[in-house]
């Protein structure tokens, strides 16, 4: 018997769109291909070499021999398959496209807002563009990466996305923050 499954975003109907864009903006990505890659024993260097960001996908440090790979080019269905082919026996790949939610926080106060819940030094010298880390934000664990001087990507498990957005709104209470789905 065939079933029709419908993909529903974890935050659909949960964030009231604020039409007016404010100084700081939290953008929720609707579709992003995400995969988790874990290098085989002793094969971290080989896997890392294959995962060098190439415009097609971007690998973010998650732990030793472990990366979160995101792609704007690939569809969720094809990213994991593509990575499996490229990595061969060097690593294990698990599709996470529907398991995680990607948020982009940008604006002049982005680092200050995050500092209200994340106990990691986010000064540009200590946490430069391109640096990624798994961090604790209040009580939620997430992957944080600095994508620009004033912008960060947050990748969180799907079922925690609502709580994280609520937390971020509280963290940004003394700053101007708008929240909406990304238009792309």
């Amino acid at each position: 018997m065939a079933y029709d499954y419908q993909a529903v975003h974890a935050l659909d109907g949960m964030i009231g769109a604020i039409a007016e864009r404010r100084a700081n903006h939290l953008s929720v990505h609707r579709t992003m291909a995400i995969a988790m890659v874990l290098a085989g024993p002793g094969q971290t260097a080989e896997a890392a070499g294959i995962l060098v960001s190439n415009g097609e996908f971007e690998a973010r440090f998650s732990g030793p021999g472990e990366w979160l790979v995101l792609s704007q080019v690939h569809a969720p269905e094809t990213l994991a398959a593509e990575l499996s082919v490229r990595l061969g026996g060097f690593a294990f790949v698990v599709d996470q496209s529907h398991g995680r939610v990607v948020l982009t926080l940008s604006g002049p106060d982005a680092a200050r807002i995050l500092a209200n819940g994340i106990a990691v030094d986010l000064h540009a010298d200590a946490f430069p563009v391109g640096r990624a880390a798994n961090v604790l934000c209040n009580h939620l664990s997430l992957n944080l990466v600095r994508t620009g001087d004033q912008s960060f990507d947050l990748v969180v498990m799907r079922s925690f996305a609502g709580a994280l957005v609520d937390d971020l709104k509280v963290m940004a209470r003394s700053h101007d923050l708008s929240v909406d789905f990304a238009t792309r």
Partner: protein, 91 residues
């Protein structure tokens, strides 16, 4: 309680990011070791004051098991090593 732990993979992090399993010194006996040896390993712990070695897991970060050497009286942290590197079989 030492409040800042320098994870070898993630850098300096607050203790809230970690789960503490306890003493890192007991060595797992062979499967057919005596009941006394297993009883010691599972149940008996010394409770020293001063420098200790513990298993900590960086649950909110890299999720690796670490061996933290610290002083439970002065809160000083001496060393943080990945458990695999420390020659441990912790999982």
């Amino acid at each position: 309680m030492a409040s800042l732990i320098s994870c070898p993979h993630c850098g300096t992090r607050p203790k809230e990011e970690f789960f503490i399993r306890g003493d890192a010194n007991p060595v797992r006996p062979a499967p057919m070791a005596t009941d006394e040896a297993w009883n010691d390993y599972v149940h008996l712990r010394v409770n020293p004051r001063g420098r200790i070695r513990e298993h900590w897991q960086h649950v909110a970060g890299c999720r690796r098991w670490l061996v933290v050497e610290r002083d439970n009286f002065t809160h000083e942290v001496f060393a943080v090593t990945d458990a695999a590197k420390a020659g441990e079989g912790a999982r």
